[in-house]
Amino acid sequence: MATKGERILEVRDLVKHFPLTQGIMFKKQIGAIKAVDGVSFTLDKGETLGIVGESGCGKSTLAKLLMALERPTSGSVMINGRDMARAKGGELKRMRRNIQMVMQDPYTSLNPRMTVGDIVGEPFDIHTEVAPKGDRSRRVQELLEVVGLNPDHINRYPHQFSGGQRQRIGIARGLALQPEIIVCDEPVSALDVSIQAQVINLLERLQNEFNLAYIFIAHDLSVVRHISDRVGVMYLGKFVELGKDVEIYDKPAHPYTQALLSAVPVPDPEGREQRERIILQGDPPSPANPPSGCRFRTRCWKAQEICAEEEPLLQIRPGTQHESACHFAETHDVVHVG
């Protein structure tokens, strides 16, 4: 993939706590759900950063923070050097043009009472400067063509399309304002297996054509590997490991990444009896009350006293080339996600 090294997004120490309150009249804060708790990463033009993690780890809250749909508790989201987390009014509106989103479920993210033309053209209503009124339907038809739909179907309604086609409509809407960054939140997980490959190919083609940068959030690790240049692994609101795709998949250093990779079923029955598999016990702890020190220590087979006392920072550890947040990080060749 052509990576043009220009930095477009820089996220620093991003935190989002949702308050837990008690009482009806006089609300009193009794704690907080620490959904995202100190996340930092960068993204270059034309690059794809994959984000993986279990449900509840904060992936989707992170996506909302990047889109400025939620305001962060602290930290910054710098797009082209300007902080979106602090932007307001007209400036925020202008910045939003540059970062768009493709949603997971193409059945609920399209308004059933709007035509495809209205759905894909709606961003132009808000950002009128992008396409003058008379030009809109032509622009919408172009967009439909770009995502592989028939431009003559501009007056049809979402229910007249299949799941894969609807996801294409969602992608066309995301492209309308010519953003530089697209956040894809589980863009293929609601689709049938034979359709997933079509949509992934489309996303890759669009990236090459428009030099888009993707934040690709998904739980299917083999899809993430296929599309990503770098991958971040999240656990309870933090990155536990961040690095190039080969480093994460072939040389995972954090025990959680190792367990996650080994849990992925390999689509090949050869040698399945011999395959090493790390089965994690229990469920992730509540983000309202994360464990002290390392958050993964309650499920970790390497945990020692230091893990409860001192929080491991995300940094390059001895013997590895990429950042991981474990006191006892070591590369360990677990599995090969296909």
């Binding site: 279990e54 297996v193 490959a197 079509q198 689509p267 469920d283």
Partner: protein, 345 residues
């Protein structure tokens, strides 16, 4: 205490060649306003004790409807079974009375559903729901049944089962809820367990826990398992044999190693090729073109022909039978030889 007509069914095998469960030329159709939907068109498969059969297919392929027909939980009408047999230890379940069917359901053949939260009743405790199996089918007292429920929760490894038996479904995590579903399904030691996408709604780490638990329970009790899924990875991990469904038919069935090594139907081949692979990173993924067919408006001939790279003229007109290959596998493709050789077109 009512003594039931379980005796109508033989308790143990001893039927010669007859497998534990055999689905034979099953047809299921639904009457809808838009016309008759033929969801299942002549499906046959069989299952032995201790065996795992994976039924692979996309939404609308008829895999779940077949399972519901085996369980006898289809709403009839609108569903209708115009043809076919479902033999359990040699007895055709479709010919049994409703009462006899109720005795099979849950006791001899049990089922796990995909979404445990909507399959469990939110207003009863999990202990009550598990123990219901013993109260209704075994006539146990509430107290004894509750003790059994705790034992089962232990068996599916729910921590602190004794304290949690009086909790409600919403107080459990997704993986724990699926364990409760499994506890209910194995309560009466069924001989066949149908698992309909048991891990689709779960995270991979939890999926690994649940699949391991199912494999262990199967080893202990030697039950036959039908695993319905669309995940080629899960199938490769646990299945002994695979039936691939497309548009209400089985298009290929074979032992698991044969299918992954050398698929004999273009659809199976396409599915396997569309899995992202490390050595092909950066390249375009192989994608099966087009869309799954509309069951109300099926293509003529072979249902897969509009999407098939091997299509010839006769595929448009003749629906291929399920050809037998080397006496151990089947493929519903006129050109299975070419598919096996990998000779495209």
């Amino acid at each position: 205490m009512k003594k039931t007509s379980l005796d109508t069914l033989p308790a143990e095998g001893g039927l010669g060649d007859e497998p534990l469960l055999a689905v034979d030329n099953l047809h299921v159709e639904f009457a809808t306003r838009a016309g008759t939907v033929r969801a299942v068109n002549g499906v046959s498969y069989s299952l032995g004790p201790g065996e795992t059969l994976a039924v692979l297919g996309e939404s609308g392929s008829g895999k779940s409807v077949t399972a519901q027909a085996i369980m006898g939980i289809l709403d009839m009408p609108p569903a209708r079974i115009p043809k076919g047999e479902i033999r359990f230890r040699g007895t055709d379940l479709l010919k049994l009375s409703d009462e006899a069917r109720t005795q099979v359901r849950g006791q001899r053949i049990a089922m796990i559903f995909q979404d445990a939260l909507s399959a469990l009743n939110p207003v009863f405790t999990v202990g009550w729901q598990i123990s219901e199996m013993f109260r209704v089918h075994r006539g146990m007292s509430k107290r004894d049944a509750m003790i059994k429920a705790v034992e089962l929760m232990d068996r599916v490894r729910i921590p602190a089962a004794k304290q949690r038996v009086n909790d409600y479904p919403h107080q459990f995590s997704g993986g724990m809820r699926q364990r409760i579903m499994i506890a209910m399904s194995i309560a009466l030691d069924p001989e066949v367990l149908i698992a309909d996408e048991p891990t689709t709604a779960l995270d991979v780490t939890v999926q690994a826990q649940i699949m391991e638990l199912l494999a262990e329970l199967q080893r202990e009790s030697n039950m036959g398992m039908i695993l319905i899924t669309h995940d080629l990875g899960v199938v490769a991990d646990v299945a002994d044999k695979i039936a691939v469904m497309y548009a209400g038919r089985i298009v290929e069935n074979a032992p698991v190693h044969d299918i992954y090594r050398n698929p004999a139907h273009p659809y199976t081949k396409g599915l396997l090729e569309s899995i992202p692979r490390v050595d092909l990173k950066g390249q375009e993924l192989y994608a099966i073109k087009g869309l799954p067919p509309n069951l109300l408006d099926m293509p003529t001939g072979c249902a897969f022909h509009p999407r098939c790279p091997y299509r010839q003229d006769n595929c448009v007109t003749d629906n291929p039978p399920l050809y037998e290959i080397n006496g151990r596998r089947n493929s519903a493709c006129h050109y299975w030889r070419e598919v096996l050789d990998g000779d495209q077109g």
